[in-house]
């Protein structure tokens, strides 16, 4: 349950970037290797943004699947359900994670002026 403190970090970035403009949507990229629960994050956002200039804005979480590159055979694996960090081709465990660790605020949508 660290979504609340994550929302405080998000608030700091949005508040600084919006600079007083009205924000409607906040787009995040969250890799599947981040242990973030999207529903909890969006709920915590309503708590953190309540009674602030960002009240009513919505978090939109774009989930990024985990992609691995095998350091043995060189093939690329995209994980579907289980987060087993193994190459699906040669079953090697010596892999580098090429996607799935993102945790980034990508963009804001502002209300029409």
């Amino acid at each position: 349950m660290h979504e609340l403190s994550l929302c405080e970090s998000i608030y700091e970035i949005v508040d600084r970037t919006a600079a007083g403009r009205t924000v409607t949507m906040i787009h995040l990229e969250v890799g599947q290797l981040r242990q973030v629960v999207p529903d909890t994050l969006t709920y915590c956002w309503t708590v953190v943004s309540d009674q602030t200039t960002l009240a009513g804005s919505q978090l939109v979480v774009h989930t990024v699947p985990v992609t691995l590159r095998c350091l043995d055979c060189g093939s690329t694996t995209t994980l579907t359900d289980e987060l087993l960090l193994l190459c699906t081709k040669c079953e090697g465990a010596d892999v580098s994670v090429t996607a799935g660790e993102e945790f980034m605020l990508t963009s804001l949508e502002l209300a029409e002026a």
């Binding site: 660290h2 403190s5 970035i13 970037t17 919006a18 990229e29 980034m104 605020l105 990508t106 949508e109």
Partner: protein, 289 residues
């Protein structure tokens, strides 16, 4: 951040966006249409990571090697630290940041062994957080005289999820796993098990009394973190702990910071008992490449 990067020596390792090169973060073209959209591309851990880097600079300037110790509640972090304080040579000076949501019970268990201890309760002013982050650790540093310490243990809040996400500025990340937790934990908490360079497999003295499948656990661990060093120990029987003390001496020697500050002769570590060789054989000591 580098904390998930277990292959830093590999020349063909692709450094990803956590290093600040935001150019490869998926197709963002859909975000850039429409006049009311502002592209931000800012890492949400950015502020924490800046403070973590500042903590690391503080540790470097003081010549102290910092170790972030993580585990689930009750795995034995404090018990291992207590044995460590008893058995490390007096010439190795230790400081501890003791992270807990409530109480100073763990700090009390560690008092009286010559280490400086700073208690950090996340319930007091930090919203009862389930982890330590870089600002919290920074707030504890003024209570320690780091210049007179060789090793700083940062005992994190017991939790297999959140502490893995927050860089606190430590040089090394270690976890304690106890064999009462079940073989499947690396698969359930891959981010934690993947984020550390050393796993202390604790409570080994209980092995005869449990249905624990040690080889299966080691396979599960290797499937999420093949580079991790694994040491099998028991804080209760002290079995295997010499390997941990040796690891601590090694990282102390690797650290130029420690070498310049402390003239500690590392040879005066406690002599290994005859079981140590057997322990060493049993320990799955897969060193980092």
């Amino acid at each position: 951040m580098g904390r998930f990067h277990q292959h830093e020596d590999s020349p063909d390792h692709e450094h990803h966006g956590d290093h600040g090169d935001h150019g490869d973060h998926g197709d963002l073209s859909g975000y850039e249409t429409g006049p009311e959209r502002v592209v931000v591309l800012e890492r949400i851990f950015g502020e924490n990571d800046r403070l973590a880097a500042a903590n690391r600079s503080t540790f470097d300037a003081a010549g102290v090697t910092a170790i972030n110790m993580m585990s689930s509640p009750g795995a034995g972090k404090t018990a291992i630290l207590r044995q460590t304080l008893v058995n490390l040579p007096d010439t190795t000076r230790v400081a501890i940041i003791e992270g807990d949501i409530e109480t100073s019970l763990d700090a009390e268990r560690l008092a009286g062994y010559g280490a400086q201890i700073a208690q950090l309760n996340t319930a007091s002013g930090f919203g009862g957080e389930c982890h330590l982050d870089a600002p919290m650790v920074a707030s504890a540093l003024p209570r320690l005289d780091l210049v007179t310490a060789d090793l700083l243990f940062i005992e994190n809040v017991g939790n297999l999820v959140c502490p893995a996400e927050f860089d606190v500025g430590a040089h090394h990340r270690v976890m304690v796993y106890s064999i009462t937790e079940g073989e499947e934990k690396p698969l359930k908490y891959p981010v934690m098990f993947r984020s550390v360079e050393l796993v202390l497999v604790n409570k080994l003295d209980l092995l005869p009394h449990l249905d624990f499948d040690l080889p299966l656990f080691l396979r599960n661990l290797a499937s999420v973190n093949p580079a991790a060093t694994v040491l099998q120990v028991s804080a209760r029987s002290t079995e295997g702990l010499d390997l941990w003390y040796n690891w601590l001496a090694e990282i102390g020697q690797r650290s130029e910071r420690a070498a310049t500050i402390s003239a500690t002769p590392r040879e005066d570590l406690p002599a290994c008992d005859p079981r140590a060789d057997a322990d060493a054989l049993r320990a799955s000591t897969r060193k980092r490449p």
